[in-house]
Homo-oligomer: 689 residues x 2
């Protein structure tokens, strides 16, 4: 693409920078400097490089743009405004940092708003999301494109700052993207060498370009990145020609370009000050008395964005129509994926019955998952290097791999595969899963897997999925002290308390195969957030009374008792123990009923009547038995038999015994509690372990 | 060092591999392959390279060894045995994977046991810990060494596997170590190219050596790393000569070396099988009928380790004695640091009084911290690039920096500095802090800082600190929705539930300057685990009734009421709100008392009588007011006014109002609850927000 617009560019860049400065100045807070320094990148992207449609932000084949350095959000908001996104009026821009709850301009970009692909802010997440978006596009292209019909051929653009390249989650994602050879991913590095602590080299002096090349990225350079639109457009053009690997465009910029404090940390996260803004305008040849001013010539410069986008949409729709005529079956499948729909009969693929013998619930999960994943093409699964242990693969599963690697190291798989070897990168795995889910809601149902303990590594990304209401399913095996010999480093204690407190998410801990089927059904039906399924390493018996349909209730009576005197609540591998203890207590004349409690979040959605009928609060003593920290169970129980320390390296059964998690000690301790329980005492939650 | 022992080496290596295979075979589980492949590294380290004393595992100036790929723990256990660590008898080795709770051989190395520097297992943590150990050593050397008296001159050795180099926390630490030029750090890469999913190149095909060089490491190669002890020793010798940067020794090894399935993933995490073990012994020229057999020649080979270590200790003690004679003041200071003691008068440096006006608690914390850190030389602080926001520096603080960088980019600081710019690397920051704390208990009190939300990034490392009972203090500012415009990505909701459930740790949320002083006192006094202090971005009034001494109680009545009818519990920035609401309720004739609850974990340590006197459970309705998820508060309250969704991008005060966190709505809602509260209803915890 040849462009010669340098005079207009000057006006656009000046206008943009002064507008950003005004918007931050207005309420005396925000992040001006990054956005100002990146102005030329924005012109290159929204005016020249990106294929998108302002009048239909959800245009399926649009290029995706991720602002990984999300604090520079004004950059994106102002370009959405200039490019003609209708919702992003000047009035809306002025709501930045205001107290208006209906603002489209929050302090970081949020997925709810048109033109925003993913919510960013926590550093490093965005670039990992972009890797997920690139995988999504590659996968759809490999599955659906046919000669002459590239129905999916979009590019993924991402801007990162210095920080995203320091964060571990970013580094993990960069390494995997290089391995996968994602040639549709173009990352622009806003290389301004300034962070909150001052010069970035106070903490980082590595050779970023060499590091990316070592990760099998191509690296291009733009020297004068705060001004030189042509050079950026040229670099993007070259990057698009590089199809076998992702590209980093190292754009050297100046933070707060044009301000008195340009190039300094003070331009990063605070308003510039009235005088500084005035002088900025003067030096840019703009009237210092005009605020929020956009000359008509600037709007005209961007006036082709809307019609170009509409044209792009039209061409794509025509292409898809012809494609569907030529490939009716594929076309219908593609249409369903575009609509974000699961096959309507997905549930029938879940086995109606399971082997009657003891089974680890991770294996029960595999029995549910294998036929489901085989049948439901939206599922794209993977593991953080625990494929043999976590049972999230299926017969005939094909790896998602760089096909060019086949000759190099003999790998199978290509971009049509739906199984991703994420490597030992739990955090990036979950962030990439968010990107997959954000590509187009419902087109992908990403499934990740590792040991439950390592969903602590992944937690910041799982949280971002919950915040964005993105459906992902996380298969968390080797839960509790039952994981055994690996010891306390691998035995989660506090982690379930976090996931149970996380809004817009489900933490499911099924007790046997039947409940595992129910957990999967609940997770698939929970379309607007992450579900984490906590599964045992060790074999668990099939329990009488469990029912897959009841998992959706969150909790239910699994062992009823007429006129009960005592109640035990339990989850997962601890339910069998509670049932055995109840039997012992019954033998001692204490009428004990047992509640299975696979999901507190689902239980909270039930009616008051149902909840009271299950809990019997204040009526009888109620003891939760769970080999995790008890925090949060106090809502449902009057006492807890739980883990109060970290775990221990012992064989699983021995670890349970060591911590008193066997029927005898539980029954004894609970009986003692029951015998001593007075109405007053019940009020003070007791730790029995 | 020249060595010519190749025949003995063969016997030692064979014996080692067969012993590892036997130990895993014994209980049919564990990780044999990595340890077997690394045998030659072990000989190089324990026989030749490392300075340590088996008869005194805590010898202060010993080289530190970290096994970052902790699942290969048998590697370390067997070499500790061979080197003559008394506790590590053959009987103890045989407890690996047994059901003996008194085993010194858990499934991953644990710090409690002699000869183990840090607990490892969660991948990537160990190498970050090693960076912390290297910083510790550099810092002490810079502070205390004098010409002719290198009282601290140890090296830090670390072995990593493929996984540690994929994990984000490892990558962050590697980048920082290169920046800091830690020439005392030598990392041996067990490059066997096998992970659980098979060949490592299924998920990673980057050029590791180039990546390290880009991060300013020196890289050396050893081709035949499973056999060639001499080459490894030679590489370590060369690495020791490189004083201006850390060194990666890329040791090419074969997993499960010598077994039928050598080089395969099946050798990684399962017993080899009886037949495989027999054949291993036959091929190694050992008697297949002998199990756990160590020929006398092997013990003799290592027999110089104990006397050499004792000699090393003696020389060091003599050196320190002379040094102390020549530099009495410095010697006394050094002796105190070696003893791991704080200056006895540390508490007097905490200000007795604070400005009476509204103050953000992050700033109150700075007022406490600055004089404390100035006076207490054990404190080594830093921030993940939020130095201007978090107030963890002090007048005269010197940066811990690579002095060679001064000319390059004009940085101040050198290795004697106690302020670390961690970069935007929260996870590595906390893991490095663990390494600092583990160098020698009490010698360092590491203080880290970032926004509370980003202690979710750091959580896996904070958890490892808790598991190891290592004292660290984490300054977590910008807590709650009060952080404001940055929006929901930066506003923690579920995170406090995790930290409050974490064993061996404190989560402290002070309400004003006085309580902030108390929080710091509690954190410094809590010598055996991490403390996280949750602080406000926004100004908070100084409240009547708060008392620093009472923070140690965890909770206390801050606004008493004779014969109260209702109680409010609150923490941090929400306490002022609870007090205002209580005033309103009093105005409506409801006698309301208020409890400040800065730390649930400290409260749980109090007597039953005290706890009951504070809580008044079952006697009156009790509402917790906290702008986090309520999970866990059900133990103390009958209802909660809390956050049930993620937050929102609004100015802090507007965010509070938006979610109903202001005195009016709180008082109204609580009054309604109070008026409707029946004895039965109180039992069902109510969410009032």
């Amino acid at each position: 693409m040849t462009i010669d617009n340098s005079q207009t560019h000057q006006l656009v860049l000046s206008t943009f920078r002064c507008l950003v400065a005004d918007l931050v100045q207005q309420y005396g807070g925000g992040h001006p400097g990054g956005a100002m320094g990146m102005a030329a990148m924005g012109v290159a992207l929204w005016k020249y490089a990106m294929n998108y449609s302002p009048s239909n932000p959800d245009f399926f084949n649009r290029d995706r743009f991720v602002l990984s350095n999300g604090h520079t959000c004004l950059f994106q908001y102002v370009f959405l405004h200039l490019a003609g996104y209708r919702h992003m009026t000047m009035e809306q821009l002025k709501t930045y940092h205001s107290d208006r709850p209906d603002s489209y301009c929050p302090g970081h970009p949020e997925i709810e708003h048109p033109g925003i692909e993913v919510t960013t802010g926590p550093l490093g997440q965005g670039v990992a999301n972009a890797v997920g978006l690139a995988i999504a596009s590659k996968n759809l292209a490999a599955l659906y494109n046919r000669p002459g019909y590239d129905v999916v051929d979009n590019s993924i653009f991402c801007i990162v700052g210095d920080a995203c390249l320091q964060e571990g989650v970013g580094l993990e994602a960069i390494s995997l993207a290089g391995h996968l050879g994602l040639g549709n991913l173009i990352v622009l590095y806003d290389n301004n060498q300034v962070t909150c602590d001052g010069s970035a080299d106070v903490a980082n002096t590595e050779d970023v370009a060499a590091k990316f090349r070592a990760c099998q990225w191509a690296v291009l350079d733009v020297a004068n990145g705060s001004e030189d639109v042509e050079a950026i457009v040229g670099a993007i053009d070259r990057a698009r020609q590089i199809s076998d690997r992702p590209v980093l465009i190292n754009v050297h910029t100046v933070i707060g370009y044009g301000a008195l404090n340009q190039g300094q940390a003070s331009a990063h996260g605070a308003a510039l000050g009235e005088d500084n803004v005035r002088q900025l305008k003067l030096r840019n040849g703009l009237d210092p008395d005009l605020r929020f001013h956009v000359p008509q010539a600037v709007y005209e410069f961007f006036s082709d964005c809307v019609p170009r986008g509409q044209q792009s949409e039209r061409l794509w729709e025509e292409k898809v129509a012809k494609y569907t005529a030529q490939y009716p079956e594929l076309g219908a499948e593609f249409a369903r994926r575009v609509a974000g729909k699961l096959p309507s009969d997905w549930k029938k693929h879940i086995p109606a019955e399971f082997p009657s013998g003891p089974t680890p619930t991770r294996k029960s999960s595999g029995l549910v998952f294998a036929p489901l994943a085989k049948a439901v093409d939206s599922i794209i699964a993977g593991s953080a290097d625990l494929t043999p242990s976590v049972h999230v693969t299926w017969p005939g599963a094909r790896d998602f791999q760089n096909p060019l690697l086949q000759t190099k190291c003999g790998l199978g798989g290509d971009y049509s595969g739906r199984y991703i070897h994420y490597g030992i990168r739990e955090h990036a795995m979950a962030a990439i899963a968010n990107g997959l889910a954000a590509y187009n809601r419902g087109t992908f149902v990403p499934v990740t897997s590792t040991f439950l303990m390592f969903y602590l590594y992944a937690a910041p990304a799982v949280r971002m999925g919950a915040l964005q209401e993105l459906q992902t399913i996380h298969v968390a095996t080797h839960d509790s002290i039952g994981t055994g010999e690996d010891g306390p480093t691998h035995q989660p204690i506090a982690l379930p308390a976090f996931y149970r407190a996380l809004p817009n998410s489900l933490f499911l801990r099924p007790a046997d195969s039947e409940e595992t089927a129910g957990a999967w059904e609940a997770a698939v039906e929970f379309g607007h957030g992450p579900s984490l399924i906590s599964l045992s390493r060790q074999a668990l018996p099939q329990l009488g009374g469990t029912a897959r349909d009841k998992v959706a209730l969150g909790a239910y009576v699994v062992k009823p008792e007429a006129d009960p005197q005592l109640q035990l609540l339990a989850t997962g591998s601890d339910l069998q123990l509670a049932l055995k203890a109840a039997e012992k207590l019954a033998g001692r004349g204490i009428r004990t009923r047992v509640v299975s409690f696979p999901c507190t979040q689902l239980f909270e959605r039930q009616s008051t009547e149902y909840k009271q009928s299950v809990l019997l609060r204040g009526k009888i003593p109620s003891v939760v038995v769970e080999s995790y920290a008890v925090n949060g169970w106090e809502r449902y129980a009057t006492a807890g038999y739980s883990m109060r320390t970290f775990g221990k390296s012992l064989p699983g059964h021995a670890a349970y015994e060591y911590f008193g998690f066997s029927a005898g000690p539980v029954a004894d301790r609970v009986e003692k509690y029951f015998r001593s329980a007075t109405a007053e005492k019940l009020w003070y939650f007791e730790d029995l372990s």
